[in-house]
C-alpha cells in the first residue's frame, strides 16, 4: 500500500501538502523552508493540485492572509523558518485566539543573531507561548506523517487551534533519506473535507471575527484557548491510533527508547534524537543503562505523562537546542523540571544547550552527556546544572 521513496524533508512535506490538498496556501520564502512554496507553486503550475497559492510580500502578510482565509472557511496552510516565523509573531497570537486551525510547516533555523541560516529550535521556542500546537520530527518520515495528521488534530471541535509541524532545518529538510509515502487517496480520505461550524463568508449567517476583548472577557477567552490546547493531547493520540491503521507507524506524545530500566535518560526533540538512539545502543553494549525520551508534542507540554515516564531515572539530561537566557535552564529543561516538581519528584536533572545554529551533534558528544550523568550519579555531586555541550574554552 505504501510507496517506498527517498526524499528530503522538504520534498516530504511538500508531498504531504499536495496530498492534504488544503484550499489556500499563502507563503513567503525563507531559507531553509524556501523549497516548500517553491515545490508547491510548481504543483500548482503543473495542475497537480487545485489549492490556491497566494504569493505575498512578507511573512506578516502570509500569516495575515492565512487568518483571513481560514476565518473565511477555507482550510489553509503555510511554511516558514527563523526570522520569517518571528515576522509572523503578532499574527500567530491572533490566529490562535481566533481559534483558527491553520497548519504551518516550520523548518527550524536559528533566530539571528549572530546571523546564521542553520538549524536550531530558537524560532519555534520563541513562538511557544503563542497558543499554537507544536509537533517536532526526528526524520523526514515523521515530518511527513505529522503533517498528514495535522488538520485532524487542529480542526477537532474540542481543539480548534493552529498547529506548527516542525522539522530540523537542513539536517532533515535537505537531507535525502528513505521514506514511506501513503497513496494520495488514502491521505485524502484520512484528512477528510473541512466543514467549519461557521465561517465569515457565509451570506446566510454573517459573523464577526476577532472582536475587541475587554478585560472582563480576556482571561476567560485565554482559559478557553488553554483548554482547547490541553484537549489536543487526547485528540493527537486518537488521531495517531487511526493513522497507525493506514500507515502501520505508531506515534505518541513522546517516544520512549530503551526506557524500561534506564538509569540515565536524555530528553530531547528533533533530528539529534536519531543520533541519540545510536548512542544509547552503543552505551547499552557497554553495560550502561541509557535511555531516550524524545518529545514529539511540545505544545501542549505533556508534563504529567513525561514525569510518569521518568519515574525510574536516576539522572536526567534535558537537551535544549536554544538559549532562553533565564540563566538556569532552557525551555525543555524548565518544562520537564516543572513537571517533575509538580509530580513530587526530585531526581537530579542536568540541562544542556546543544547544537545551536547547526553545530554538529555526534554520537561521541551525546555519549559524553551520558558519561556526565553517570558521574553525577556515582559522586552525588551535580555541579553546574546548566551547561553548554561541546563549547570551546
Amino acid at each position: 500500500m505504501s510507496i517506498r521513496e527517498r526524499l528530503s524533508g522538504n520534498e516530504a512535506i511538500a508531498t504531504a501538502m499536495r496530498q492534504v490538498c488544503a484550499d489556500v496556501m499563502p507563503a513567503y520564502p525563507i531559507t531553509p523552508s524556501t523549497e516548500l512554496p517553491q515545490y508547491f507553486s510548481s504543483f500548482v503550475a503543473n495542475g497537480e493540485t487545485d489549492t490556491i497559492f497566494v504569493p505575498v510580500e512578507s511573512e506578516h502578510s502570509a500569516m495575515s492572509a492565512c487568518i483571513g482565509s481560514e476565518a473565511a472557511g477555507a482550510r489553509t496552510m503555510s511554511a516558514t523558518s527563523s526570522c520569517g516565523l518571528a515576522f509572523m509573531w503578532e499574527m500567530l497570537y491572533v490566529a490562535a485566539s481566533n481559534r483558527l486551525p491553520i497548519a504551518l510547516a516550520v523548518v527550524n533555523r536559528a533566530l539571528s543573531g549572530p546571523i546564521n541560516i542553520n538549524c536550531d529550535h530558537s524560532d519555534a521556542m520563541g513562538a511557544r507561548d503563542a497558543g499554537w500546537i507544536q509537533i517536532f520530527a526526528e526524520t523526514n518520515q515523521e515530518a511527513y506523517d505529522n503533517f498528514v495528521q495535522a488538520y485532524r488534530i487542529a480542526e477537532h471541535p474540542d481543539v480548534k487551534l493552529p498547529i506548527m509541524i516542525c522539522q530540523d532545518g537542513f539536517i532533515t529538510s535537505h537531507g535525502v533519506q528513505n521514506i514511506e509515502l501513503l497513496e494520495d487517496d488514502v491521505v485524502k480520505n484520512f484528512v477528510g473535507e473541512y466543514y467549519p461550524e461557521s465561517w465569515l463568508l457565509n451570506p446566510e449567517h454573517p459573523e464577526a471575527v476577532g472582536p475587541y476583548t475587554n478585560p472582563p472577557y480576556y482571561m476567560e477567552a485565554k482559559y478557553g484557548q488553554l483548554q482547547g490546547l490541553i484537549n489536543a493531547k487526547k485528540v493527537a493520540l486518537e488521531v495517531a491510533k487511526e493513522f497507525k491503521e493506514i500507515s502501520g507507524r505508531e506515534y505518541g506524545l513522546f517516544e520512549e527508547y530503551r526506557m524500561e530500566d534506564a538509569d540515565y535518560v536524555m530528553v530531547m526533540m528533533g533530528s539529534a534524537a536519531g543520533t541519540c538512539k545510536d548512542t544509547v545502543d552503543m552505551l547499552r553494549e557497554e553495560g550502561i543503562k541509557a535511555g531516550l525520551l524524545k518529545i514529539r508534542m511540545f505544545r501542549p507540554f505533556p508534563g504529567e505523562e513525561i514525569a510518569e515516564a521518568l519515574k525510574g531515572a536516576k539522572v536526567i539530561a534535558c537537551m535544549d537546542r536554544t538559549e532562553s537566557y533565564n540563566s538556569q535552564d532552557g525551555p525543555i529543561g524548565a518544562d520537564v523540571k516543572a513537571a517533575l516538581f509538580n509530580a513530587g519528584m526530585a531526581p537530579k536533572v542536568l540541562n544542556y544547550v546543544y547544537g545551536l545554529a547547526g553545530r554538529d551533534v555526534t554520537v561521541e558528544s551525546l555519549a559524553s552527556v551520558f558519561e556526565d550523568m553517570k558521574t553525577v550519579d556515582e559522586t552525588g555531586e551535580i555541579g553546574d546544572t546548566y551547561r553548554y555541550l561541546d563549547l570551546r574554552g
Binding site: R6, F170, N178, K277, D360, V361, T362
Partner: protein, 190 residues
C-alpha cells in the same frame, strides 16, 4: 550485523559534489538500500570548498551527524588537496578517490601520510571523450561504486541508465555518452 558505508565528498561550490552525493543516494536507494545524502550547508558560494556525505546501509540509518571517520573520500577537485585536510579521519582500510590526470603515486605525497588505498580518476579525460564536455559526476560516481564495491556494477549501470533516461528525457542524445563515461571509468579504475 549492520553493514554501513560512509562516504565523504569534497568539491567546490558549483561543481556538483552535492548532486553526486544525492545521485549516489538515489542509485543505492534503487538497489534496495537505506540511504542518506546530504551536504554541509552554509551560504551558497561558487568556488568555495564544500563537503557532502553519504551513508549507505542495509538497515535504517538514524544518526544525523556529519561523517568524521569515512570509509571512502571522493575529491572532485584536486586543487582542494592543498587547502583541505581531505584524509582527516579516513579509515586506512578504505580509500581516497581523486579526480586528477596524475597517478596515485604522484598524489600520495599530498595526502599527509595516509596509508590506505589511493585511486585516481581522470574524470576530465573520460568525460570529454565520452560526452564532449567536462562533467565530472558520472566518472566519479562510477569510481566510488567500483572502489567501494557497495553495489553490483551491472545493477549500478542499469539503475543509472534508467535515471538518465528519466533525467534527460528531453535530450536523449546525452544518455549514451554518460553511460559510456561510466563504463570507461569502470574499465580504467583499479
Amino acid at each position: 550485523m549492520k553493514q554501513l558505508t560512509e562516504i565523504r565528498w569534497h568539491g567546490r561550490g558549483g561543481q556538483g559534489a552535492k548532486t553526486a552525493a544525492l545521485l549516489l543516494a538515489d542509485v543505492a536507494f534503487s538497489t534496495g538500500m537505506y540511504v542518506q545524502g546530504f551536504p554541509e550547508y552554509g551560504p551558497e558560494r561558487m568556488g568555495a570548498p564544500i563537503t557532502a556525505y553519504n551513508r549507505l546501509s542495509d538497515q535504517e540509518v538514524r544518526v544525523h551527524s556529519n561523517i568524521y571517520y569515512p570509509d571512502y573520500v571522493v575529491v572532485v577537485d584536486e586543487t582542494l588537496l592543498e587547502s583541505v585536510d581531505v584524509t582527516a579521519g579516513l579509515k586506512k582500510e578504505g580509500a581516497i578517490i581523486v579526480n586528477t590526470p596524475k597517478s596515485a603515486d604522484e598524489i600520495r605525497p599530498l595526502l599527509k601520510g595516509y596509508e590506505g588505498k589511493v585511486v585516481t580518476v581522470d574524470a576530465r579525460k573520460i568525460s570529454v571523450e565520452a560526452l564532449g564536455r567536462y562533467f565530472p559526476n558520472s566518472p566519479m560516481l562510477a569510481a566510488v561504486v567500483k572502489v567501494s564495491g557497495i553495489m553490483d556494477e551491472q545493477k549500478f549501470l542499469d539503475e543509472m541508465e534508467a535515471s538518465y533516461k528519466h533525467k534527460f528525457a528531453h535530450k536523449p542524445q546525452v544518455i549514451e555518452g554518460n553511460m559510456n563515461a561510466l563504463k570507461m571509468t569502470f574499465a580504467e579504475v583499479e
